[in-house]
Amino acid sequence: MVGAIQLSYLLAAVLFITGLKRLTSPATARGGNTLSAIGMLIAIVATLLNQGILTFRLVIIGAVVGAAVGLWMARTIKMTAMPQMVGLLNGFGGGASLLVAGAEWLRAGSGSALPTETAVTIYVATLIGGVTLSGSIIAAGKLQELISGKPLLFPGQHYFNLLLVIGVVALSVALVVSPGQVPLFAALVGVALLLGILLVIPIGGADMPVVISLLNSYSGLAASTTGFVIGNHGLIITGALVGASGLILTQIMCRAMNRSLGNVLFGGFGATPAIATGDDKALAARGVRSITGEDAAMLLAYSRSVVVVPGYGLAVAQAQHQVRELAELLEKRGAEVKYAIHPVAGRMPGHMNVLLAEANVPYEQLWEMERINPDMERTEVVLVIGANDVVNPAARNTPSSPIYGMPIIDVDKSQHIIVMKRSMNPGFAGIGNELFYDTKTAMLFGDAKASLLTLIQEVKAA
């Protein structure tokens, strides 16, 4: 029986692994989730068969109430509120870990009956569970805008957090040395909760998804720790799985926002603006958002309408063949791709035509500015390749600008804009371009050819 239960946990773990793996690709994601749910069902049923369970009454009460609440929440929540919902659910998971740790501690004579190593695991579970619980609630609150989305900072916050961590350690040590003191344990719980709040509160609302993902990873670790506490391999495996994959996901999300994981782990971000690569420190001040080739590729790979705006930089990079290849690739994935040709793009009349004809881009895909501008609003992604002046809104908005009055391609009306250029240097007209600072714009820095090669590779892999 015990063996069967253990093997069931293994089976559940295998289902979780497979499920998670499938969740990373759009085609298999839904099935993956179902597999993972089946895994959970197996794990729960196996647990219920455990001979250690003396009564089902409390279990059933808890399960029915919990399931009902979960069901209700999942049914009624609006699609737009999904992220905070996930945050909240995560908080519940963390809370459960915290409660289990507490209950175990209480059952073991308030910790007196525990060997040191188990006691330590309980305190670790308490800490992680507590942080996850309060942190998730704050994150959800920020997303729901119940709490200000702005990063809230107070002076010396980092030191205070450090103090809290020290406090946790001290309390744990005290509890190990002299077990059985409920107030100390309660203090531990309190500090953990406070830490969760303080770690999340200074972070900007836009970064919350990353935080939730990280807290999710934490809650996996909490589950794993719980596994150690109650000596259950199923919990250990599954918790470690979620912990590790959550960490990787967090990292992926960080990269998508151009952050280092370190930055996230140490909390307190959101104070530095979301910014760029390399040496362009100056850009930071104006908040240009840069994007990696991988993420740009992901954005492109799954969008259905793409407009390419080529400029002089495409000619300089001699990347005409690459742009055609990328476009073909996207078309093969079902996207509609058009090229928007500005009448003075490049450095001679018809420069873009010469370039794109060389790469065999069909004439039908070349759209004149006047014809494509009305379509811009419906365009999901605009890929601006080495163009600058011809997409500069200053031509519309800034009468003092030397290019004022020139008709431009209205890329700023589209839903996403990816701009490929090497730096923040101006183009022919020698003026800055507010488009680059638009919140919808992501800069993909680098030589256009190199960037396009990356995009091609990544889109293929997507």
Partner: protein, 371 residues
Amino acid sequence: MRIGVPKERAPDERRVALVPETASRLIKTGLEVIVEAGAGEEAGYTDDAFREAGAAVAGAAAEVWGADVIVKVQAPTVEEAQGARSGSVVVTLLPPGRSPDEVRTLASQGVTTFSMDLIPRITRAQPMDALSSQSNIAGYKAVLLGAAVLPKLFPMLMTAAGTIAPARVFVIGAGVAGLQAIATARRLGAIVTAFDVRPAVKEQVESLGAKFLAIELAEGGEGEGGYAKELSEEAHRLEQELLREAVAGADVVITTALVPGRPAPKLITEAMVQGMHPASVIVDLAAPAGGNCELTVPGQEVVRHGVTIVGEVNLPATVATHSSQMYARNLASFLGTMVRDGELAIDLNDEILSAACVTHGGEVKGAAWKV
């Protein structure tokens, strides 16, 4: 307000100042257009097409000249100018300083004249930039002419009857015409090298897949007071040397070097021509300004030392359909700056109008004609 489009009378001028499509656009904005019968014929635009576009077709030139604004390709002759109505406006191509008699006549007639050659090169004026649109076409056609005259193929071909080496094309001056020439020659498969005094165009030349010929300065030639002049002489010698070599290695040389308002620099000497392979070709786009080659005879195709030198002065006219179309667009954009609500409203404080104005209020305004 009425716009008149006379038939061009200059020899070999096949273009027309307005095409039906542009005429129809103007008419839609509330203007009237009157076209001299047969004006667009040589460019492939029939009178019927103009009529369909909503323009009137006049049998007599005088009727057309009675319009408020006369649009032309070539500057009016003295005779035509004398028939112009006082207070009317003439818009035409008119290179700075050229046709002084005609300009004087226009001024004395009280005609306001604008030259499309004088449109300032500011961003806003790009759609009116006839110099660019016509140079562009000239650059394209120069290569076609060169290729038609050259007794060789442009592209490389590896065939059962041996391998044909690609033609080498050397373009001097990489402005609008030069760049289009580069692009066209590259399209045909030639190996293209280009030279220009402005180092900024290196990148532009390379962006078209051609090689830029850069002057390599002698080592250690920098600094040291008073040395600069000698260096520049050395640089000039080097430049000459470089050109000589590049010209000698080329099958087709296309020259487009111009300095606005001045005679074209003589860059290719007779000696350089002598150094070329027999049966090579020079297409001198600077011919209207005297030519970049010493041996160019503007308006003629001559053979010197076995080298054919094409001195065609009006290449855009040989592509009349499209050059007219583009010129007409330029004109329409330009007219836009002087028309308000369908009425003439010339504001000579406008940057573009003031720059393009040649005669106004009985006076010659264009600086190039004042001397």
